[in-house]
């Protein structure tokens, strides 16, 4: 059974249909990249998975358990919703670190509030994550003292602290200077080696081709094409994808 099963997700903003029935599944330990032009619905899909937007129709299941059903949205309590969203982690394009906490504080805040162990355990685990993203010497720095790449790595560590089953990235390098994207992509590559299940919305085509097991190309709110990277990048079928890839190379 697939770890994540998304069925027929539909979402509109006013009269604009942003997601027109999205279905896909994702196996444990696999990396899925979602590519496509801006406005194609990629970010909205990711935000629906993290319950920052609510799809009107469709279901999201993790490990066979339905964690979201668009038609029964009103029946789910807020507490239940909070629990369900913890299957997912999200790394934002704009990092969204909490400015008044240092790097360590950013990482320990949520586990502390969710009572995921004693203060010592939480700190020890946070330090481990800080080391993993290469910020050992920045643990007590505030976000405003960090470069964009360092902030994004801290944000990744923060998302990992709750150990989500599926870690989502919403254009994690789009807000970074080109020379800083490498350090962030390296961290994501290392996570793949540790068998993290990940969904990455990105415009870094070479990276997507490299790191992904599966690629989804979205256009106009639909999955236009899907398959392993060799197929999607090597032998694109649809005209939209061919044009998209040409524009990006």
């Amino acid at each position: 059974m697939a770890l994540l099963e998304v069925k027929d997700l539909t979402k509109s903003f006013g009269k604009t249909e942003v997601l027109k029935g999205i279905s896909f599944s994702l196996e444990q330990g696999k990396v899925l990249s979602i590519i496509g032009s801006s406005g194609g619905g990629k970010s909205t899909l990711l935000r629906c998975l993290n319950f920052l937007e609510f799809a009107e129709k469709g279901t999201i299941s993790v490990n066979g358990e339905t964690v979201y059903d668009g038609e029964k949205r009103g029946e789910t309590s807020e507490a239940r919703m909070r629990e369900n969203r913890l299957h997912f982690g999200l790394v934002f394009q704009q990092f969204n670190l909490f400015p008044q906490y240092d790097v360590l504080g950013n990482i320990t805040l949520a586990p502390t509030l969710l009572k995921r162990g004693t203060a010592e355990e939480i700190t020890a685990r946070a330090m481990e994550l800080i080391k993993r993203v290469g910020l050992e010497d920045k643990a007590h720095n505030y976000p405003c003292q960090l470069s964009g790449g360092q902030q994004q790595r801290a944000a990744i560590a923060r998302a990992l602290a709750l150990d989500p089953e599926i870690l989502c990235f919403d254009e994690p390098t789009s807000a970074l200077d080109p020379e800083l994207t490498g350090e962030v992509l390296k961290v994501i590559r290392e996570l793949k080696e540790l068998d993290r299940t990940m969904i990455i919305v990105t415009h870094e085509m070479n990276f997507a081709r490299d790191v992904s097991d599966d690629i989804i190309f979205m256009a106009n709110g639909e999955i236009e094409e899907q398959g392993p990277p060799e197929q999607v990048f090597g032998f694109p079928k649809s005209e939209i994808l061919k044009k998209f890839l040409k524009d990006y190379s």
Binding site: R82, F92, F98, P99, Q100, L109, C144, R158, L162
Partner: protein, 214 residues
């Protein structure tokens, strides 16, 4: 003749009332401003439209006029007994300043990026955890400079309560004027300046204290 010391004591007496008016206005207007703010930001027009209209009227008309209306209005229009002078002034200041505060609050709330709420949500925090642990301090940091400005204005605005003969420092000084002594009126400036100087120091300390983050 009055000695410098006599005048100082007398003015201090008046300034005590000024200070009381200032502190009581803060005590009521700070929380009331938050309610007005939530009202004006409501997504329900039936609530936000009247609140915004009130804020417009209060901010758009002279405070001195408002003091006169609150003091004389109920008597002239409905034959009600006059409010005590100090209470009438206090009520006016509370209404007036809560409208100004509400706009400062609104600016502060809107200045905290939406991404901060979303990051908290994604990390499984409850609404109140997000409010108290994530957004509150960022909100406070952002309203400190305009609040400092507004409080200094309030200290000076209390002088307007003189129009309904509240015995504050200007009134105290003018009672010397009637006896032929003009300089006490100018001397009152020292009291305002010292008090506002202290406020300025307090606010710049608070600003410094929160300057470690953006």
């Amino acid at each position: 003749m009055y000695s410098f010391w006599d005048v100082t004591l007398s003015l201090l007496d008046g300034f005590w009332i000024t200070g009381k008016l200032f502190l009581l206005t803060l005590l009521f207007a700070l929380p009331l401003g938050l309610i007005v703010c939530f009202g004006s930001m409501s997504k329900y027009k039936i609530l936000s439209a009247p609140v915004k209209t009130i804020v417009w009227i209060i901010r758009g008309s002279p405070l001195m006029l408002q003091i006169l209306i609150v003091y004389y209005g109920p008597g002239l229009m409905f034959g009600l007994p006059l409010l005590p002078r100090f209470s009438a002034a206090l009520v006016t200041f509370v209404i007036n300043y809560s409208c100004y505060f509400s706009e400062i609050y609104r600016g502060g709330i809107q200045a905290v990026p939406k991404g901060q709420y979303e990051a908290g949500q994604v990390l499984g925090m409850t609404r109140s955890q997000i409010f108290f642990r994530v957004t509150l301090l960022q909100f406070v940091k952002r309203i400190i400079p305009p609040m400092g400005n507004e409080l200094i204005t309030l200290v000076k605005d209390t002088a307007l309560s003189r129009t309904i003969a509240v015995y504050e420092i200007i009134w105290a000084a003018e009672s010397f004027q009637k006896k032929g002594l003009v300089w006490p009126l100018f001397y009152t400036a020292v009291f305002y300046l010292v008090f506002n100087g202290l406020l300025t120091i307090l606010f710049s300390k608070a600003e410094k204290k929160l300057s470690y983050f953006n």
